[in-house]
Amino acid sequence: MPGVSMEKAPIPENQTSVFVVRKRTFTLVFLGVSAVFAISSVVTDYNVIDGFVAIPRAVSWIAENFVPDKKAWSRFPNILEKLIETALLSVAVTVCAAVCALFSALLGTKTTKINPWIGRGVRIVAAFFRNVPDVVWAILLLFSFGQNILTGFFALFFYTFGVLTRTFIETIDEVSANCVEALRATGANLLQTVFQGILPSSAPEIVSWILYMIETNIRNSTLIGVLTATGIGYMFDLYYKRMDYGSAGLVVISIVALVILIETISNQIRKAIM
């Protein structure tokens, strides 16, 4: 952005042009955003006024109906069971995907110099898994796996694998390239370079990414659950469709508590490992 670079080194005689450029940038951004907004509203049939009115109305409706009642609390043990299952599922998926992603990242990174063609192949495969939305996998897996926890497992697995492969490759390239060169120069072989150089130097980053994906997968597994009638997502969908909003509200509150709990733990762990 022209405005940015000039801001750092203001030259007195250039000031007018700085302001002109900045004004032009703002005008362009503003016009562009307005155009996107206008076209999108028409295409999606979105009514701005409706949208704004809906929020306060929805909030008061939520406050009235989504408060867990006695009936809801009687279901809490069931909800808790599914909640724990969802949490364990997210951990299990992320850990399995991370192990596979680590292998493919070691094949895909340029630092190990295993083979440029294998590296390119790995990156293409990872891009494929990252870009096919997990809902597609969920719908596809429903055909053969049915309403089973494994449907959610594999749907989340493929996406997580794709994301983690890319981030692990980036991490390894960024963190380990220098020390890998040095280890290669001492005559270390691939296995030694990986265990003595790459893993120690990138481990904290890798663990941090795993924690992040566990958080993400809890949210995503809710969506997959709604779609495939499994886990905590199914619990919500069930109560929601029965219009038992108190229980649905309790499900939401439980999920929020779980996500915030896991976020807090993750942040503590990050502080400890960095």
């Binding site: 220098n178 040095a182 290669r184 270390a188 003595q196």
Partner: protein
């Protein structure tokens, strides 16, 4: 017989970028040679051709009389394990301890598995401590490398390469990231190693004054070609300008930094 001999070596990256063109020189055992030249002149490529981190495109490189340009995987490992290398950015594994980083110098000598799990003999560990003592780092032995200053990190780099029992140490801009006093400590250590242990040293340096002070032989390289090879006394001002392609009168100490 020279320790190292380059015969008409050329290196072209990606079929376009010429890094080295027809480079020939030889280094005798125990020499302390400085290679000077501007950034991008091919100095780093030249060093990396010696331990095959970079493969020369043409010509032959003789290490102890054996051509290494056609060496296979095992042969490369044999070359590397007796050739130390020191880097501008130290290239240590920051999250491991100093002693672990020093022991990395043994990896080339060990079985794949023992090295991978970090199993070193007591003898190797004691030797690592002895080398650390030489470099004045024993008290830091169990610190993590990211706790060290630049000068200390470079000393760990030197210790790692000594751990290899090298015949030859390649130094790629060893002092370019250091302040003058740490730089002096590092240069003194390298010079000492060269003299007392008779290890041949080849250094890439930016600082012409440092090169002239420490080495008895200087190789000047510009655009991938050797333009000077001789003692520092004969290196005239105009020759230095030719190497750095700078015009007469410009300040030349620390050129290129």
């Amino acid at each position: 017989m020279p320790v190292l001999k380059f015969q008409n070596v050329s290196k072209v990256y990606d079929n376009v970028t010429k890094a080295l063109t027809d480079v020939s020189f030889s280094v005798e055992e125990g020499e302390f040679v400085s290679v000077i030249g501007p950034s991008g002149s091919g100095k780093s490529t030249l060093l990396r051709c010696v331990n095959r981190l970079v493969d020369a495109t043409q010509g032959s490189i003789l290490l102890d009389g054996r051509d290494i340009t056609r060496a296979d995987k095992n042969e490369i490992r044999r070359i590397r394990k007796r050739t130390g290398m020191i880097f501008q950015h130290y290239n240590l594994v920051d999250r491991l301890s100093i002693i672990e980083n020093v022991l990395h110098g043994r990896l080339g000598h060990k079985s794949a598995l023992a090295g991978a799990v970090g199993h070193f003999t007591e003898r190797e560990k004691e030797d690592a401590f002895r080398i650390l003592a030489k470099l004045g780092l024993t008290e830091q032995a169990y610190k993590r490398c990211d706790e060290l200053s630049g000068g200390q990190k470079q000393r760990v780099g030197i210790a790692r390469s000594l751990m290899q029992e090298p015949r030859l140490i390649l130094c790629d801009e060893p002092i370019a990231s250091l302040d003058p006093s740490s730089a002096k400590v590092i240069m003194d250590h390298l010079s000492d190693i060269n003299k007392t242990m008779n290890i041949t040293c080849i250094l890439n340096l930016h600082q012409v004054d440092v090169a002239m002070k420490y080495s008895k032989r200087i190789i000047g390289i510009t655009l991938g070609r050797i333009v000077y090879d001789g003692p520092p006394e004969r290196l005239s001002k105009s020759k230095i300008h030719e190497i750095y392609q700078s015009s007469e009168g410009e300040l030349i100490t620390d050129a290129g930094c």
